[in-house]
């Protein structure tokens, strides 16, 4: 075990020397790989923001339950209890027909009712929904429709469906584009860097093999090289995402305000930051492993 650790420490130290022995080359590789990683990392963070936004927006739609004008207070109480027991609701309020009439008149539309002696407006429950799944809402709607005393349920499900579909499209596109553009760029850069390292150490690899080095011994420093490059690239990507979210935060809020939507771009939290760097390091290791297996066959 101690020997194994020593071998890894030596390989790590050696990889560090190789990495910082060519600072300019390392800087360029890390910047390119960092840029490649920024796309998926940024996409991931944006995806979270979109999910939050979807959640926030889809909670706004309201359902209006119009009661029968003949409905008595017992039926209204039964509906109230039914709503109280319903876990999918965020809140609800009762608007009596008198209150509705008052609101209508207050809104300047009182003339519409000119010539009508009686109040034609029904008692209404205004219900705010929890969650963002239109399919579940439709089931809930059907259930409410069947309650005694309810004559009509009004819900703009198409609007919510369209919005959800739009956000889902944006989410998948952002993630897909990030993966399609970012990962190949990362793979190409890493492969080139490792290939150059192998060529630069061609003599050393040959000598080590003559002296009895196993493939594992020869590959080990390259693996560490990949992990270190991946980690540094992850840090560059993280810095770019931080800078990007900070720079875009205010313009995005302003755009949202023009549509009456509250949007906030969030910077990655510590867990997300750690995940980005860890994934970058893992990708560095994986890319190097593939590249080393391919190129070490030359010797």
């Amino acid at each position: 075990m101690r020997n194994w650790l020593t071998l890894h420490l030596r390989a790590f130290a050696y990889a560090l020397r190789r990495l910082f022995g060519q600072p300019f080359g390392t800087l360029l590789s890390v910047l390119v790989m960092g840029a490649a990683l920024t796309l998926p990392a940024g996409g991931y963070i944006l995806r979270n923001d979109i999910a939050t936004l979807m959640h926030g927006m889809s909670s706004k739609p309201e359902i209006s339950l119009f009661l029968d004008n003949e409905a008595d207070s017992a039926q209204a109480d039964a509906i109230r209890r039914g709503l109280q027991d319903e876990p999918q609701l965020a809140s609800f309020r009762f608007v009596s027909r008198d209150e509705a009439l008052k609101q209508l008149k207050g809104s300047g539309l009182g003339d519409v009712l000119g010539g009508i002696d009686t109040n034609p407006l029904p008692d209404t429950f205004i219900v705010t929904l929890r969650g963002n799944d239109p399919k579940r809402f439709e089931a809930l709607l059907a259930k409410m429709q069947s309650w005694p005393g309810v004559v009509h349920v009004k819900y703009d499900s198409a609007w919510v469906k369209r919005l959800a579909a739009l956000f889902e499209l944006a989410r998948v596109t952002a993630l897909g584009l990030s993966v399609l553009l970012g990962l190949p760029l990362l793979a190409v850069t890493l492969n080139t860097a490792v290939r150059l390292q192998i060529l630069a150490q061609k003599d050393e690899i040959e000598v080590s093999r003559l002296l009895g080095a196993t493939n594992r011994f020869i590959r080990r420093p390259f693996y560490w090289f990949g992990v270190l490059q991946g980690t540094l690239s992850g840090l560059v990507a993280l810095a770019a995402v931080w800078a990007g979210t900070h720079a875009l935060a205010i313009p995005v809020v302003k755009v949202g305000e023009t549509y009456g939507i509250k949007i906030a771009l969030s910077s990655p939290n510590w867990k997300e930051s750690l995940a980005i760097v860890a994934i970058a390091a893992a990708l560095g290791w994986l890319g190097t492993a593939v590249s080393v297996r391919r190129h070490l066959g030359w010797f």
């Binding site: 020997n3 020593t6 071998l7 000598v207 080590s208 003559l210 002296l211």
Partner: protein, 218 residues
């Protein structure tokens, strides 16, 4: 013990390097392999650490059949064989000390013991005090001695030297021959391919003579 049994080596280009060569080397022997250029001396030596594989026949070292050895086992075989090749194969960007240390690192020796061994190897080849120098700063003879130190630092049971005195002045060549002889005296089986038989002659080593890939005298 090293056994060559009807060993033939033909390269992919059709060149017959060795043709039905059979001989046996006992432990602690010093064997000089001679022959004209292209006689097959280097090929013969490369078959022992499995740098090359025979086309037919069997090469056996310390009861291990090298001819059929799986690739993954070859590194462990090589750790028990000291190699001094025609090209010294020194690493120019590593110091004398680090060049000698490399086989010990590969073999996983603890640092303290490795340092002792490197010191002893440097003493043995007369390079003490040159630890921090780089191979490019050494003369041809010193580079060859460095290669011998690296080949011997793992205390191998077999030492193979391919033309170790080539391109060296008579004085340096004599030194190198003396170092190889001292290894043999310490119980190491030594095989030397050389044109300069006279250098080793006064130790009366066993001689294997090759001619166009065939063993003509042993």
């Amino acid at each position: 013990m090293i056994i060559f049994d009807s060993v033939t080596k033909r390269y992919p280009n059709g060149c017959m390097a060795l043709d039905e060569v059979s001989f046996r080397v006992e432990p602690d022997e010093l064997v000089v392999i001679s022959g004209h250029t292209g006689a097959g001396k280097s090929t013969l030596l490369k078959l022992i650490p499995a740098i090359e594989r025979p086309t037919s026949g069997m090469v056996q070292i310390n009861e291990q059949n090298v001819s059929r050895m799986p690739k993954r086992a070859v590194p462990y075989l090589r750790r028990n064989i000291g190699l001094v090749m025609q090209e010294n194969h020194l690493l120019p960007d590593r110091s004398v000390y680090d060049n000698i240390l490399l086989p010990l690192i590969i073999n996983g020796h603890p640092q303290k013991e490795a340092a002792k061994r490197v010191g002893a190897a440097l003493d043995l080849v007369g390079l003490s005090g040159r630890e921090k120098d780089f191979p490019t700063g050494l003369s041809g003879g010193e580079q060859r001695r460095l290669a011998i130190a690296r080949a011997s630092v793992n205390r191998p049971s077999v030492l193979i030297a391919d033309d170790p005195t080539a391109h060296l002045s008579p004085a340096y060549a004599s030194e190198i021959a003396g170092i190889l002889r001292s290894f043999n005296s310490a119980g190491v089986t030594v095989l030397v391919a050389t044109h300069d038989i006279a250098l080793f002659g006064h130790w009366s080593p066993r001689q294997i003579v090759l001619d166009h890939g065939r063993l003509v005298e042993q």
